[in-house]
């Protein structure tokens, strides 16, 4: 297919349609509303289900119901709306049904603002709903990658009977880029041995997240954890840039990773041996590749559009062997490549913060920006 100019949100919507989306339930919230608007037109013209729900609570529970039938189903929202969906997400996880949820993240906490942010990383990757449950989280850094990951998200959700979230910041949702759409995938009749679509010529089925007997819940939690080990073994995805001879490594996902790439290229032009690791799956996290890098590079710099959330995962993989520095912008502010380049210069000059949490020294460095 030829490249066309696509707005991120609309590209996500069309890519989901082409991946076989059968039902969409959503609620308006900036900066993801174009997904809802696009699908309000597109789904009915294909004879597929579309409902603008009364709330995000309603939307995620419609997703839950449709997911129980085995249909390919998705909702999309932005940070405050995703917070409202956490109840449903936990139930979907506990019931082991597949569903896709896109979070076009904005500045927070609270109502925050509608500018791009990555501050729902911990909610998506480590937390969110109640209970012990794993979930797959994909983080695209361009419109093209968002398109490519939509198809993957449905396949992974279905394969592992698990939630697959796609998290991107508002700038990817709002910007237009040339991108190539995949072919339209026909909706095939898929047979499952778990879905509740009416007990016609088979035994009846129950889908529930209730295990009133604690040992049975424990067994269920171990089953989820075992499935998660499979995901960790098979589904880690990341992209490497200039890592072969790198002395320093930047780690950043989504837009922060993309901004960092510009800084890395500029630093390379100056002869600084710096590379970039951009996780595409932030859950499962590419711990192993960072573990290996930690054995041969002299420092890491984590850059995010939050107060340092993925930072903890990098530190977990590095295990104190080399310094891990942090540089972020938060509250809806996107860093410029020059800011990252300045950090690369600082680290290349050996000025790292060894005696305290690197996020504390980052806050000190930010004083001139914050205390305006």
């Amino acid at each position: 297919m030829p490249k066309e100019l696509w707005k991120g949100n609309e590209a996500i919507a069309e890519a989901a349609v082409r991946a076989g989306l059968q039902a969409y339930f959503g609620y308006p919230i900036t900066p993801q509303t174009e997904i809802l608007e696009y699908l309000s037109r597109r789904m009915p013209e294909l004879g597929r289900a579309f409902v603008q729900a009364e709330s995000e609570l309603g939307a995620i529970n419609m997703v839950y119901g449709a997911a129980c039938t085995g249909a390919r189903v998705m909702s999309t929202s932005s940070s405050p709306g995703v917070s409202l969906m956490m109840e449903g997400l936990s139930y979907i996880a506990g019931t082991e049904v597949p569903a896709v949820l896109v979070n076009v993240m904005r500045g927070g906490p609270g109502l925050g603002n509608i500018a791009p942010a990555q501050s729902d990383y911990n909610q998506a990757v480590h937390g969110g709903g109640h209970g012990d449950y794993p979930r797959i989280v994909l983080a695209p850094s361009s419109v093209q990658e968002a398109i490519d990951l939509m198809g993957l998200s449905f396949d992974l959700a279905e394969k592992y009977r698990m939630i697959c979230m796609v998290i991107l910041d508002g700038s990817i949702g709002q910007m237009m880029e040339p991108a190539e759409m995949p072919e339209m995938k026909p909706i095939t009749e898929r047979k499952f041995d778990w879905n509740t679509d009416g007990a016609i010529n088979r035994e009846r089925r129950i889908l529930s997240s209730i295990y009133i007997d604690p040992p049975a819940e424990e067994v269920a939690n171990f089953r989820l954890a075992k499935r998660w080990q499979e995901v960790q073994a098979n589904e880690v995805r990341y992209k490497e840039y200039f890592l072969d001879d790198a002395e320093f490594v930047i780690v950043g996902f989504g837009t922060a990773g993309r901004v960092a790439l510009s800084a890395v290229r500029a630093a390379r032009a100056e002869g600084i041996k710096v590379g970039l690791l951009r996780p595409i799956t932030v859950s499962p996290y590419p711990y192993e590749v960072i573990d290996q890098l930690a054995g041969r590079v002299s420092a890491f710099l984590v850059t995010e559009m939050n107060m340092g959330q993925m930072f903890d995962d990098v530190r977990l993989a590095v295990r104190g062997r080399v310094p891990v520095e942090f540089y972020g912008r938060t509250g809806g502010v996107v860093p410029f490549p020059d800011e990252i380049l300045a950090e690369i210069h600082r680290i290349a000059a050996g000025q790292w913060s060894v005696d305290r949490d690197p996020r504390d020294s980052w806050q000190t460095r930010m004083a001139s920006v914050i205390e305006r």
């Binding site: 729900a53 609570l57 119901g65 189903v73 109840e87 679509d197 009846r204």
Partner: protein, 256 residues
């Protein structure tokens, strides 16, 4: 064993053979049976998908011989919407209590009704939160003592009971919305007829249908089952009048 030609009362096919967990004298069992009979009579057991609530009837899925899902508290109408929209030829019903439907799930039920979702809702109104031990519900009568209104519901500080059937009947998406009671055999027969009409409404695609059923909770009300039935007749029925609050013209044509 009873000879088949002498058998006058048996477990309906819509039921599994699991004994229910409900307290003695509770009318959940009656309501369940009426639904199971209707499913059997309409010959729709295999294509029916039920949605259980959170509350005493959280385990409803154990008793009906159909596919079933179990919703988060109050969200059954949203789940039912999701199921029905992708499988419009299936029969989808929710079974919800008053805390589930009229309190935490108020948003979901109102909007499912407003959208005219082709689903059937069986709403059990027993004026308290049964499963958590008898707290005040949106339907608790003024002056009624519960574990969270120990001096009786004071409408000055705790508000008034919500009349769901009346409220939902104002919405244009609703095809059939009535209130019945389970306190004596005559009313139980009328309740069954209403449940049948509600499922027929859905089967014909005539919009949202709900049957509110006044029910007992002998355990939490602290009454014998017989006194609980009397309480429904003497106190619940006057507060929640029985009747047909919305019967769309197309639904009125249905003969059951």
């Amino acid at each position: 064993m009873v000879a088949p030609n002498n058998l006058v009362y048996d477990r309906p096919e819509g039921f599994t053979d699991t004994p229910t967990h409900y307290c003695p004298g509770c009318t959940h069992g009656v309501a369940h049976r009426l639904i199971a009979e209707v499913l059997e009579e309409m010959n729709i057991i295999p294509r029916t998908i039920g949605v259980a609530p959170v509350g005493c009837s959280v385990f409803a899925y154990n008793y009906f011989d159909t596919d079933f899902v179990e919703a988060p508290h109050g969200r059954a109408p949203a789940m039912a919407t999701g199921i029905k929209r992708v499988l419009p030829d299936r029969i989808v019903f929710t079974y919800q209590g008053d805390g589930d439907l009229a309190s935490i799930g108020m948003g979901e039920i109102v909007h499912a009704a407003a959208r005219g979702e082709n689903i059937t809702v069986v709403f059990i109104n027993n004026a308290n939160y049964g499963m958590t031990g008898g707290q005040m519900a949106p339907t608790t009568l003024p002056g009624m003592k519960t574990t969270s209104s120990p001096n009786g519901r004071d409408v000055e500080t705790q508000g008034y009971p919500i009349k769901m059937a009346e409220m939902l009947s104002t919405l244009d998406g609703v095809g059939y919305c009535v209130r019945r009671s389970l306190h004596d055999p005559k009313n139980i027969r009328l309740a069954k007829k209403a449940i049948r009409t509600a499922f027929e409404t859905q089967a014909r695609g005539l919009g949202f249908s709900m049957v509110e059923l006044l029910s007992t909770c002998p355990t939490n009300w602290g009454m014998t089952p017989v006194n609980a039935l009397k309480f429904v007749e003497e106190h619940m029925v006057p507060a929640f009048p029985l009747g047909d609050y919305k019967v769309a013209a197309s639904v009125a044509q249905i003969k059951v």
